[in-house]
Subunit: 470 residues, 3 copies
């Protein structure tokens, strides 16, 4: 069996600096990858194994010993062992006393055990300093050096010196340690690598449902209806025309749903007369995924923009315009210019563009690095003021798009109104309620409630409190 | 009066870990929110209040005591009290001796007091370790857990152990502490949450002024002029046609204004023969908001791009093209193809696209996370080399757009030239001066000045200095 | 000679806090800039110089002394001297014993010396604590306060207290220190400011080569060929039409080249039966610059999108459409509607839009701040699943674009097929191989190999290992 090439051995062996020795318990894939990386970065590595003689795959330059012997070689021991096999460590409590145990384990499911692996380890070996680290890094990334996503190492532990040493080790390996506080954070750190966009699920499923519903709705109105009544094959509309109705409708509804929970919360607070009641759970969850809802809406708005801009390139549109022109030319009829049509057409386009522009601004400010660079006041200003302006512009865009046709009965097909009319229901509701909420009399009460005032409270009547304290 | 539900009490009470007790002075809204969050995260909380018996709103599980009694319970005391009421603390100096006082106060105005609140506190209670923290977090964010913008907690203090403990506390609350050094940073930290885009004001007002000016200018030329002379109603042009003249003009001028201060600074340095003079204040401020000027310009360029791309969808444009075609068809006249028109039309579009593309690249590299990932040399390369290339392309785009019409007198209306001609003045000036500055003879002198050389200086003649030192 | 104005002197002289004194060796430009900034931030500064009396340019308020005298004033000494002149420090070993020496030097070339400057300094003065810092900040940025790109200060050193003090100093100067671990990191820190987009070179040159090749190829087919056979002047096509063939072709090839190395690596692993062999160097480098390749491809895709959207605005296109319409009108011939053409036209446009949309999503997730916010699993999901979907959509876009014309011999000109046919070779190859690799039988073996299993290995047959260990 071939071993790793010798030319991969540490190049930078500084004779002046005495090499630190790290012990790794377990010779699985991740343990070996970590050991290999450590050897490359100038550490001396000792593996601890149940069957030291059978471990033939280990990187060149590393020793393999039995667990107790390996543990004696170093005061940092990395536990590359599954949680299920931690119990043998109870036999080693004496050797492990005072050592730093680095728990790098992950589970298969979120919250698999009531207690996090690192806390379980700390309980098994009370004399050792347990530090949770490295579980968010992948073995492949360690080996290849391609650390795009996972340069960050979340570190937590109760002993701050032990934590510092592990963080220094991470830095030497080219990683970015992030101190997450005490071992109580271990549970969150262990769950982290198992997540798959938890906050995006609700927005994703909701928008998928909206898309499917409106797609079928539009197919009925624009493909099946003309086929039934005129025997006309309009199936080709399913590629661009119908998506370009579905996307803006979904985007507008999702954008309105971003602002709906805030409006509901304000009504609840006004009704209860206090802000110290908890909101119902569904409202809490909804409020926490508003950013994701907004970004999904932005995605659909972006698609709508491009689908709209390609209109003049489409074969169907060119054919229709050409035929219209030819017919008019043959009839020798000039088309009179209608200023009101020009106004309507230009305004709904302009409103849409400005709405999209603000929407993109909102999207950019929700990038983590941008929102970290603004303070709370600025963030509120952008997300609330600009956000409502975006909603107003996009709703107006849809209203003007409807324009004259809005209430004409001819747009009903099988009693189904056009999709954009359905899309307007939620945004208009949100805007109307919000308008009521910012009326001075309502707004004043709401502001007082949000500053801690309570209707029916003896507390708020005390003249001293609420003035001296923050 | 209802209290907060018991099901919100800390879920993760680790019996193994002894609970740390934190004392909070003051029972205002922010104090209660912070206390509530701390209880949730496993801390034991004691409130200090002037009227312990009246404070009925406090979270379940927290004790309320008088100030001295509460202070004795913990060695970390959070001051949730307005600065104006700090003076009573002088009576408690004995109790507070050696304790960590966390100043979380904010002011109502920037630089309200000559001394920052935290430094004032440190002066009042000299025996305590004052740490400034938590003032950038909002009460609402703490309560709701929606910490989008404000997960960052700026921390400063003179005692590094006290600072470490407060930073650990912030981490336990799920926040990201950022060490800002000694208590001298407190002033900046207290001003931070009061800012509302300070660097964006000048670019914003400037661009608003430019927009208004050019909008009125274009309305005079394109709406009022044809109305006066031809009685033609062109008001609909105000929705798209005129904004699509105003936006590119504003964008180009703002982009040129990004590079103008650098050019002025170079001329000043050449004239003075040294770089160790300070620039005038207005030039300093201008140079510091170049990034914001450039991003506002990018916003206008983006709007210009979309306004241009929607042209073929507009009712007016379709109507005009159709009528043109019909007229030609009726006259049975074929339009000869002009290669030079095709070249002109295609080149100005291509130049505009490439300029916009580079402009977007510049915008992306000014995102905080991207500019943090490049070094100084790379940043200079992008912002200077690519920046000038962008300016050249955009200026050329405008010049070729003018094309043949440029000097024809027919484009003057009431002696007013087209807006794009005005827009070219600053960019062309900047490019001409820059061209002179990079001529080898001028560039050599400038480079020497920027490396520390001074005309009329005995220092620079010393053969030793400037060679050995950095 | 004028000195810096006195109004720039430190405004915030806190009498309560005793001023810390910092010593700077060397009076070059960077040394003076740093000293000036330190005076502004409240430090007391002493310069050490070979000729103390000749240094007339120093900031007001700083003393200039001989090296040994200056060194005695402070326990932090900043070495603003070129590495070549470090040797005089050997005479000062006694004075420097126990002091913190901050190495701020840079070299002129990457890896200019076998040993980093900081390590060389540590070897020269073994009794001092050497810390590497400040070399990534520019003198200009320090003076002007415009610290856009370079607020980050990489710090490394073997003594953690010395490092902490230097990091605090950086914070006081308004910079963001980043701990990079021990002095072994000094080499990387010294090379950092000399880099000019090292990972972008290969993608840049490759895409430039592809662009030039396809540009010439298209000029031959679309400008020279019609000129030779029809004496038609199509040179104007070089501004938009031909770039709009070159850009999508380059984008598609580059996108396929992002996924080709992964496919090659999988084949190599299957062939070798192990993942513990190293890949050849070219493959390693290729894999490490995949992100950059992808982003360059996205740039070209973006250009392709805008070049396509401007089509209806172009003079040539308008002229051609108008003439076509007039000709038909004169012939009184109506154009029959072809549903299959409508389907083809709409589908390739829709596929392109969706592909571009996913491509933009991929680009956004590769922003540093976004990719830091996702875990390894999410990153893999986006980059691998969404990435392949993007490749499939873009390849399908090109295939449907070809549509019916694909195999018609008329598109050959001088035996040269259209550019898009050449562009399809690599993407189709990648997709076919990938399809084979995800067949269950092949995929199962590959997954086992990637989990550490090896064909022909006694190790993998051990029943204990690979189960207990991570």
């Amino acid at each position: 069996m071939e071993k790793t090439n010798t030319d991969e051995l540490p190049l930078a062996m500084n004779s002046t600096e005495k090499q630190e020795t790290v012990c790794i318990f377990g010779t699985g894939d991740f343990g070996r990858s970590l050991g290999f990386k450590m050897l490359q970065c100038g550490y001396s590595v000792v593996f601890g194994s149940r069957n030291p003689q059978m471990s033939s795959l280990l990187p060149n330059g590393a020793d393999v010993l039995s667990y107790p012997e390996a543990a004696k070689k170093s005061d940092i021991i990395i536990m590359a062992i599954h949680r299920e096999h931690y119990d043998f460590l109870t036999e080693l409590t004496e050797v492990l006393n005072g050592k730093i145990l680095v728990d790098i384990s992950n589970n298969l499911k979120i919250n698999q055990y009531p207690q996090s692996n690192a806390e379980y380890l700390a309980q098994l070996v009370p004399g050792a300093h347990v530090v949770k680290a490295f579980n968010t890094v992948s073995a492949w990334a360690l080996q290849s050096g391609a650390l795009d996503a996972s340069r960050q190492v979340f570190v937590c532990g109760n002993d701050s010196k032990a934590k510092q040493r592990v963080m220094n080790m991470a830095r030497t390996l080219g990683l970015t340690p992030l101190d997450q506080g005490s071992l109580m954070a271990a549970n969150a750190i262990e769950n982290y690598p198992l997540q798959l966009f938890p906050m995006w699920r609700f927005p994703f499923y909701l928008s998928a449902a909206l898309c499917v519903f409106f797609f079928i709705y539009c197919v009925i109105r624009e493909v099946i209806y003309p086929y039934v009544y005129e025997k006309k094959d309009s199936t080709f509309r399913m590629a661009i025309s119908i998506p370009n109705r579905v996307f803006p409708v979904t985007a507008l509804i999702l954008l309105a749903l971003v602002y709906l929970p805030g409006v509901i919360a304000a009504i609840l607070q006004l009704y209860r007369g206090t802000k110290y009641h908890r909101f119902p759970d569904w409202l809490d969850h909804w409020m926490l995924c508003r950013k994701q809802l907004g970004l999904v809406a932005l995605g659909f708005a972006f698609l709508h923009v491009i689908y709209t801009l390609v209109i003049p390139i489409r074969y169907y549109v060119r054919w229709r315009l050409r035929n219209l022109t030819i017919t008019q030319a043959l009839l020798k009829k000039e088309d009179p210019f209608s200023t009101s049509s020009a106004w309507l057409s230009d305004s709904y386009v302009a409103l849409g563009i400005l709405g999209f522009f603000l929407f993109v601004l909102l999207g950019i400010t929700s990038l983590p690095s941008v929102s970290n660079a603004v303070n709370w006041r600025e963030f509120r200003f952008v997300q609330s003021k600009l956000g409502y302006l975006t909603l107003i512009l996009c709703t107006a865009h849809t209203l003007v798009y409807g324009g004259k046709r809005f209430l004409s009965p001819s747009i009903l097909r099988w009693c189904l109104p056009a999709a954009y009319i359905l899309a307007l229901i939620i945004p208009c509701t949100v805007l109307v309620i919000k308008f009521i909420l910012i009326l001075p009399c309502v707004d004043k009460t709401l502001t007082r409630i949000r500053q801690g005032w309570e209707r029916n409270s003896s507390y708020s009547k005390s003249p001293l409190n609420g003035k001296t304290d923050i």
